[in-house]
């Protein structure tokens, strides 16, 4: 086909015009999206739930646990005794997150993805927790979270989901999760088999509260980091401003992000200890002469 110069020019003009309009339309779409997105009820609910779960005042009693930090510091006494333990603390924080991601994160993900399996997950997590101290810490916080659900979140959620599920298919899945936690909580009163570990329950509760899985996993690791850092403040390893700096650091951010990505597809069967000495530090917490934490 042969076209004249005039035709070509007009085509080019037309293309230019179309492209400009496309860009314009895209820009308007993005703008309206950002306005709408921030105010859809679904997003609001997720954000609201995220704030609830990330609140350090959430009554899980996490402040009572140092996750092995106290024992670790006792095993690594500086010489002279007055020397700073800051660098050992940083090592510990890395190892602690590494351990948590390899042992507990798969259970958070599984608890979220398969709410109906929560009893089996609880049993398997219990079977995989080799020491009394770690299990005590995990069960104490797990039971606390279940109590928070029962006493504070439940009323809100059972009613809204039943109303919504009538005309919304996606809420069926959430209803399954609510049923799962309700039957779990009921079984707990009659059965001695259940322990209520934190990790699978964290996943399950995040599911019910419509927190996106990615955020739930991130928050699980972040809360752990915050607990350990706050324990370090109380153990006089670092000051409160230093602590905030560690929490705010890009290093911590990219580490948690990396751990979530690494563990995203890991099955619970492949959960395991990646820092074997951690089991010893935590297990030997009981042997400390003086203690300010429960783990």
């Amino acid at each position: 086909m042969i076209t004249t110069n005039g035709d070509q020019k007009s085509l080019e003009d037309e293309i230019f015009d179309l492209e400009r309009r496309l860009q314009d339309a895209k820009a308007r779409l993005n703008y309206s999206k950002s306005v709408v997105a921030s105010s859809t009820p679904a997003n609001d609910a997720a954000l609201h739930a995220l704030f609830l779960l990330s609140d350090s005042a959430l009554p899980l009693g996490s402040f009572a646990f140092s996750s092995g930090l106290e024992s670790y510091l006792a095993h690594h006494k500086p010489s002279p005794p007055s020397a700073s333990q800051l660098s050992s603390f940083h090592t510990f924080l890395r190892l602690s997150l590494c351990t948590l991601a390899s042992t507990a994160l798969p259970y958070v993900l599984a608890g979220y993805r398969h709410p109906e399996d929560v009893e089996a997950l609880d049993n398997d997590f219990d079977a995989s927790t080799p020491c009394t101290v770690a299990r005590r810490a995990s069960v104490a916080q797990g039971r606390a979270l279940l109590t928070v659900w029962d006493r504070s979140f439940k009323a809100q959620h059972s009613s809204t989901t039943t109303a919504a599920s009538i005309h919304n298919g996606t809420d069926n899945r959430q209803q399954t999760a609510v049923d799962a936690i309700t039957s779990f909580s009921t079984t707990l009163r009659t059965s001695s088999h259940l322990n209520v570990h934190l990790a699978p329950l964290w996943g399950l509760v995040s599911n019910i509260l419509s927190v996106p899985l990615n955020d739930a996993a991130y928050l699980f690791l972040f809360s752990h980091a915050r607990t350990v850092i706050s324990a370090a403040v109380r153990a006089s390893v670092l000051g409160p401003y230093q602590a905030q700096a560690v929490l705010a650091s890009t290093e911590l951010k990219s580490r948690i992000r990396g751990l979530v990505e690494e563990g995203w597809d890991r099955n619970i069967e492949d959960a395991g200890q990646s820092v074997p000495v951690m089991d010893l530090w935590v297990g030997r917490h009981e042997k400390l002469y003086s203690r300010i934490f429960n783990s």
Partner: protein
Amino acid sequence: MSSSSPFAASTSKPGYGSILLSLLPPNTPVLSNVSYQYPLKLVAPDPLPLPEHDQSVPNLPSLIHTVFLLTYGGGIVAGDSINLDVRLRNKTRLILLTQGSTKIFKTADRNVVSRQHMAVNIAPDSALVYLPDPVQPFAQAAFSQSQIYSLEQEAGNLCVCDWVTSGRSARGENWDIHEYRSRNEVWTVDTSTENQGKRRLLLRDNLILDKNGQTGMLLSERMDAYSVFGTLIIRGPIFKSLSQHFLDEFEALPRIGGRNWGDSQQPELTRKEQWRLQRQQQEKANGLIWSAANVRGFVLVKFASREVEGARTFLNNMIKEEGSVLKSFGERAVLCLK
């Protein structure tokens, strides 16, 4: 081919092996099957009579069988895969041993992972003692092993150890491996008619050493200067006093950070207290730390030490002092700990 062979098909595959220990009534256990294929090799020396045959207990097995787990060439080469199936029928006792550490040779391609898998079925009233030499993965080795124990109705006795070293320390190797995984699982199988074959996990001890974890540290830094890590898993009435011994000794460990103010007069020490004191001093000298926990019907002992010998001495010393394993299985049970 339609014509069928008059002989049963060979079930042996490379690296596959099986051990079946059954009971000839009333109380003579026999190794009714020991088969293996290259590179796995099983050696079963003559069984030994029960060291102290207690006539008051009826139906104790009269013989203790031992099987050595070996590999041709004395180690596992990249890409090797070993699969061992062990079955202990009712009222039998088995000792599994190795001859020297299990060496894992380096792999040219880090994605070629050597594997070793052992499945053990333990009937009620039977017992397994598996106290092997440690696994020794050389630099650039990639290895994954699993030991899966199945108990019927939560019964059965077991005393098994799984430990790993940092490599050839004499050549300066210090956890320079690509990857190491070791999984120990204990399951209970429900044999009642209504729940036929339903399995429940009782214990999972899974060690994963690989590049994951976002630590930005070498594997050796993650190990806090220890060269040996191990787990001892004990369960069942036959090992009850051994379990209790570990718990008591853990309880009796001196407090970390405690001080002796010298205000309590040291009384004359009993023989046991003297042994304890000596052992604790040796632990300190060898840089050995350990913990014991009573969980879900198991006693789980975790230990770490600076050198292999420290851990070996600790295990040997603890098991010997308590004595029940030697009494009910004989000296052979602790052959690898000497």
